[in-house]
């Protein structure tokens, strides 16, 4: 797109008013957007659909971003139907397992934890992207964060919802799982707070509450927008939107309190999230099982979680761009920025892995080294995907051109998450199958029941997301608008520089 076009559009937009029209600066000077300097493709003449300018009039912006919510294609129904079918078979498998017993899973002593727990850790890990990234970005005031927040936060909430199912699927007596809740009873049933599982139970619940709250509070102003739109359209969504929007008007007092509250939440979530995955890692590290009992597990898990989470955010962003034509909101620039973040995290993760490996290798304690040998012997291809994927990530993401290539990024981030799933599996399964007592060494294969349920969990996650997109605004509209409000362009010599107002 040429800068002339840009100026013209800005001028047009100014008529309809609103912050997106560049109300407070549009009159003064119409400047090309900074992204157009950055984005390599915009330098060329060829305009791509996703490079369209989002700075249309605000109504148009609302229309555009709310479009996925209000307009549904037949393909969508077909897609959710397929998801529903996958979920249904997983549910049947789960009922079957509950009815007959956990023997339906491929577990056996001493591999008491298997694919379920690996999947649980994976989902909990995935949930770390949203809130941590969004909190950090909020607190540091990174401007590029704005459009991606909602998608990332929703991912947190939903992957946690999925994750929270797995302990329930995993326990032997589901109908007695409430024993973990401190409910005073005649039978003096009381949880043992010394158990890392109990910490985990607390942490997951706290995190679930926190991230749901975070998601909802973030949604609040957008709900008001959607509400107004729904009422105007007479859409059925107005019923719940009215209630959920809590009567939000956008008064200055509301905004002010709201911003403060977001700040509190961002800080608290930032304290919760690492603790959650640390505690999840303690489920392993607190035991005396060789291979699990290491101090590095806390940070290693947290970094791994962010690694897989950020990758998943990138994957999702690209999917959203394509499916809902949101290329002008979620721009290549955002993917590029996330790619850089991912690069840093993958380096940190690899460093942690290396630390864990080299300490074990050097000390060569037989029971610990045995596990690495077994991993290499039993799961060589898995290790290739996991470690090779990580190396590839570091290599590829160092290239700007790679970061700008959406299919490449999509493939790479998927690869990263495959690797991270394998990593969780590698932590849970091989370590248990090569435990202290060599007589009880064993091998483990997930059963069909486990696979069904795990596949269904992925379907469930996508389903939740798909439903969410249809019920709530997927783009953080208020944040994007705020970004426009508080930023302006300042001419610096020949160039215009985008600056952001900070108080």
């Amino acid at each position: 797109m040429s800068s002339d076009d840009n100026v013209k559009r800005s001028a047009d937009a100014a008529v309809s008013g609103g912050p997106l029209a560049g109300g407070h600066h549009g009159d003064v000077l119409a400047l090309p957007e900074l992204e157009s300097f950055r984005d390599p493709e915009t330098k060329g003449a060829k305009a791509h659909y996703d490079d369209a300018d989002i700075y249309r009039d605000e109504k148009g912006f609302n229309d555009h971003t709310l479009r996925p919510m209000f307009f549904t294609t037949k393909k969508y129904f077909a897609f959710t139907l397929v998801l529903g079918a996958i979920m249904a078979q997983g549910f049947v498998a789960f009922l079957n397992q509950t009815y007959w017993g956990l023997g339906m899973a491929g577990l056996h002593e001493p591999v008491y934890w298997g694919a379920y727990i690996a999947t649980f850790v994976f989902w909990v890990g995935l949930s770390h992207s949203g809130t941590i990234v969004s909190s950090i970005l909020r607190l540091t005031g990174a401007n590029w964060r704005r459009p991606i927040l909602r998608a990332a936060e929703a991912m947190t909430a939903f992957s946690l919802l999925v994750a929270a199912l797995f302990p329930l699927i995993h326990v032997g007596r589901l109908w007695r799982a409430y024993y973990m809740v401190p409910l005073p009873s005649q039978r003096m049933l009381w949880p043992n707070f010394k158990s890392p599982l109990m910490w985990d139970f607390c942490a997951i619940n706290v995190y679930l509450t926190g991230s749901m709250t975070f998601l909802y509070i973030g949604l609040l102003p957008d709900l008001a927008v959607a509400r107004d739109r729904a009422i105007a359209m007479g859409n059925w969504r107005r019923h719940y939107l009215k209630v959920l929007a809590l009567g939000w008007r956008g008064s200055h007092r509301e905004w002010s309190v709201y911003n403060k509250c977001s700040l509190f939440l961002a800080v608290i979530i930032l304290l919760i999230a690492p603790s959650v995955h640390t505690i999840v890692s303690w489920d392993f590290a607190m035991t005396m099982t060789p291979g699990w009992h290491t101090t590095i597990f806390g940070p290693y898990f947290v970094v791994g979680a962010i690694y897989s989470g950020v990758s998943a955010v990138v994957t999702l962003m690209i999917v959203l761009r394509v499916l809902f034509n949101l290329g002008d909101v979620i721009r290549k620039f955002h993917i590029d920025a996330l790619g850089k973040l991912l690069l840093v995290i993958s380096i940190i993760w690899s460093y942690f892995y290396f630390c864990e490996f080299i300490t074990t290798w050097y000390s060569h304690k037989p029971e610990e080294w045995e596990i690495f040998e077994w991993q290499a012997h039993r799961f060589p291809y898995h290790l290739w995907v996991m470690l090779g994927g990580s190396c590839l990530t570091i290599f590829c993401l160092s290239w700007r051109r790679f970061r700008a290539c959406m299919p490449c990024m999509f493939a790479l981030t998927l690869l990263v998450n495959c690797g991270m799933y394998i990593e969780r599996y590698m932590i849970v399964v091989p370590i248990l199958s090569r435990r202290d007592n060599p007589f009880m060494w064993t091998d483990y294969y997930p059963s069909l029941t486990e696979l069904s349920i795990i596949v269904a969990s992925f379907a469930y996650f996508i389903f939740l997301y798909a439903i969410f997109i249809k019920l709530f605004p997927i783009v953080t509209m208020a944040d994007v608008k705020e970004g426009v409000v508080v930023s302006g362009d300042v001419r610096l010599g020949k160039h215009a520089v985008r600056v952001q107002v900070k108080e």
Binding site: E109, V171, Y179, P191, N192, L197, T287, F439
Partner: protein, 251 residues
Amino acid sequence: MRILKGSIKVKSFNYKEDNDYSWSMIIDLDRCNGCGACVIGCQAENNVATVGEEEVGKKRNMHWLRIERYIEGEYPHVKVRFLPMMCQHCAQAPCESVCPVYATYHNPEGLNVQVYNRCIGTRFCGNNCPYSVRYFNWFDSSFPEPVNNQLNPDVSVRERGVMEKCSMCMQRIRRGKDTAKDEGREVVDGDIQPACAQTCPTGAITFGNINDHESKVYKMAHSGRAISLFEEKGTHPAVKYLKGGTNDVIG
């Protein structure tokens, strides 16, 4: 401030010296011939389920007591060793503290107790047991008519989804103590024998109260041949093994 007392007393393997009883088991590896009588004795006493061929193939056999067999050396200098392995009733049991619902705890007599109807089946305890001696009921155990007539009424039949393990024949301990009480005396050494110790043809298994310094187990535990399995893990098991296989150590 009992609750603030740390793990002070448990440093020694006898759980609490100020208690009357601290049950302990000594297994003489020099005597064990791997015949497996204890395995069946335990199974008969404790209603341990048989799981069948298919489940055994998945390594889900439930024997609370198993005899581990290790092979050393190359033909013809081969040595086969037997190691009876059951719950070690560790004083600092790794399995206990990780249970989120107190389904397993340490009773004042030094036994690691599994409370079946508290257990929700997280299997964390099984993961944290270095000896791998906790068994999970993957399915409801089947005792079809008329096999159920053999079930020992003193021991509950476990539901699917709970952990189980050697209880050192808790029911026999209780019966022994009751008998002694009825007769107005203290429990004397040899009064109480778990099913495995009772049946062991070679007399490899000895059970007793290690707080009683006159007891056989006390003497054997201090014989110089006594070892604990995975001593370096600091679990302080109540089950001790007498090292065997050499002529150098006699005791």
